[in-house]
Subunit: 324 residues, 2 copies
Amino acid sequence: MQTLRQIRQVVEEVVRGYARPRSPEGLYGPAGYIMGLGGKRIRPVLCALGYALFDGRFPDRLWSACLAMEVFHGFSLVHDDIMDEAPLRRGQPSVHVRWDVPTAILAGDVMLIEVYDLLRRACLPDQLDLVLQAFHRVATSVCEGQAMDMAFERESAVAWDEYLSMIRGKTAVLLGGSLEIGALLAGADPLSARETGRVGEDLGLGFQLEDDWLDVFGDSERTGKQPGGDILRGKKTALYILAMLQGSTAQKNDLETWFGRSPSDEKVRAVSAIYSETGAAAAVLERSEAFFRSAGDRLDRLPVRKEGCDLLRELTIALQGRKA
Amino acid sequence: MQTLRQIRQVVEEVVRGYARPRSPEGLYGPAGYIMGLGGKRIRPVLCALGYALFDGRFPDRLWSACLAMEVFHGFSLVHDDIMDEAPLRRGQPSVHVRWDVPTAILAGDVMLIEVYDLLRRACLPDQLDLVLQAFHRVATSVCEGQAMDMAFERESAVAWDEYLSMIRGKTAVLLGGSLEIGALLAGADPLSARETGRVGEDLGLGFQLEDDWLDVFGDSERTGKQPGGDILRGKKTALYILAMLQGSTAQKNDLETWFGRSPSDEKVRAVSAIYSETGAAAAVLERSEAFFRSAGDRLDRLPVRKEGCDLLRELTIALQGRKA
């Protein structure tokens, strides 16, 4: 197993195995459905790369941990979609729409329970306690991030540091945890594994900020997203937060007024223009790039295998390449 | 620590510690609320008794596992109340009513995540894998039981074996698992621990069937329940299933007709009478007692400490004593 493509293939195979029909269908059907909807599988790939940073042979048990990270991500999507009343996920009906809310709650629960069994199976006896500790930090952080996200929806102004804490908790820590757990499974000492996790956290922050930028300014043919989707949904992304912090009083008033209006192409154009004119667009890209640089610097200081580093850099560049 | 009362005191203290205010309040407040609503704390007490069956000294780490079993129970109550649209829990507003559905989903999730950390803390290094395996069986079974329960609501007839599978999965297996995990923590070999778990499963089935009977025929001053509450809520308990299996065509038609009507004292009286006349009431009690006998027989065959057995029998009698 030498290339990113080979790692991705194994991950897809393992995910397909998880998404197979299982009885009772009412409980496991939705789990298979959400996992079968696709996605970039970044978390399981990062888990394998965390391993590759410290050891060159991929044991079978590793894939169980990779799957655990993706099932955890799937669990959080199922429950978040209920909480956010999101009718669609990757262009298909969300689980609570395709089935109903009770079914979606229970399916998410059983997925979360399976995550722990998958992690257990991945561990050598002396790794289990450490891996569970690392995963507990990650899972708690994802819940705290989601709680912050829901609280922000009710607030008019959010400070930049608070916003960063939210996306760190909700997204970046899970990417970091995937790398960290992979490293622990390869026998990395806990401190090096933790620092490897911080590389993933920085990458996660970089990706998330870039995603916010791409949603408005990206080439929709490359990103596969609806242009201005966040604006149409009235989502307060990094662009909104920074525009409200950097803009003039007139620009801030304009932005709030446009956000209060119903979705239209005109709204997307007007809000995009405010994001550019306030300097928020440039600032978000700049901050995203700073996190990518920080990830690279951290990686340079770690005592890791060159082959693993190369794979991680290749993944990062592939993901960054979505920018026009 | 020699008496049931002392064990209960420690359990209450540990639960109070868990229910303390924690930040962010929006995430952990509901967890503290549901855990503070009281209850018989049967699961944590059973976990301590499972330990006492194999070892006489209670180490501090044991209480973390006891708490894990109660937090898992609390998690299932929070999510079940959303799924069942139950407005009240122990006479107080359910979490999703006191707060809202998103908050209740997320609070349940973080409680489930904490269960695993509590279990981890309770284990000696060589116990963690076994305890997680046992708990995985239990947690999966609770979800499958809940899935069956929801499916039954949509069906007109449920076979007795199916009903038994449902209450076994949803309730009995967790009581059994509490005993089993206590036993594993005391160093019991996995087979003895598993058989100890089956004692708890039988007790759980006995209690659940007895509960169904008590709801209609119990002394409400002793049970603390609204008389005929299950009938008023239109819940298909063991009494309903057996009446539909044993009753004459006329009795079954009557029962279905009454179940279709809105709640009233008259409905409670009429349905109670059908439960008695069909012999369902006597049959439920009989089957409950058979499970208690089976639990006792299993316990007699296990190589366990007499002091532990005495405590478990004392608990069983105290719980059975709710019968008039």
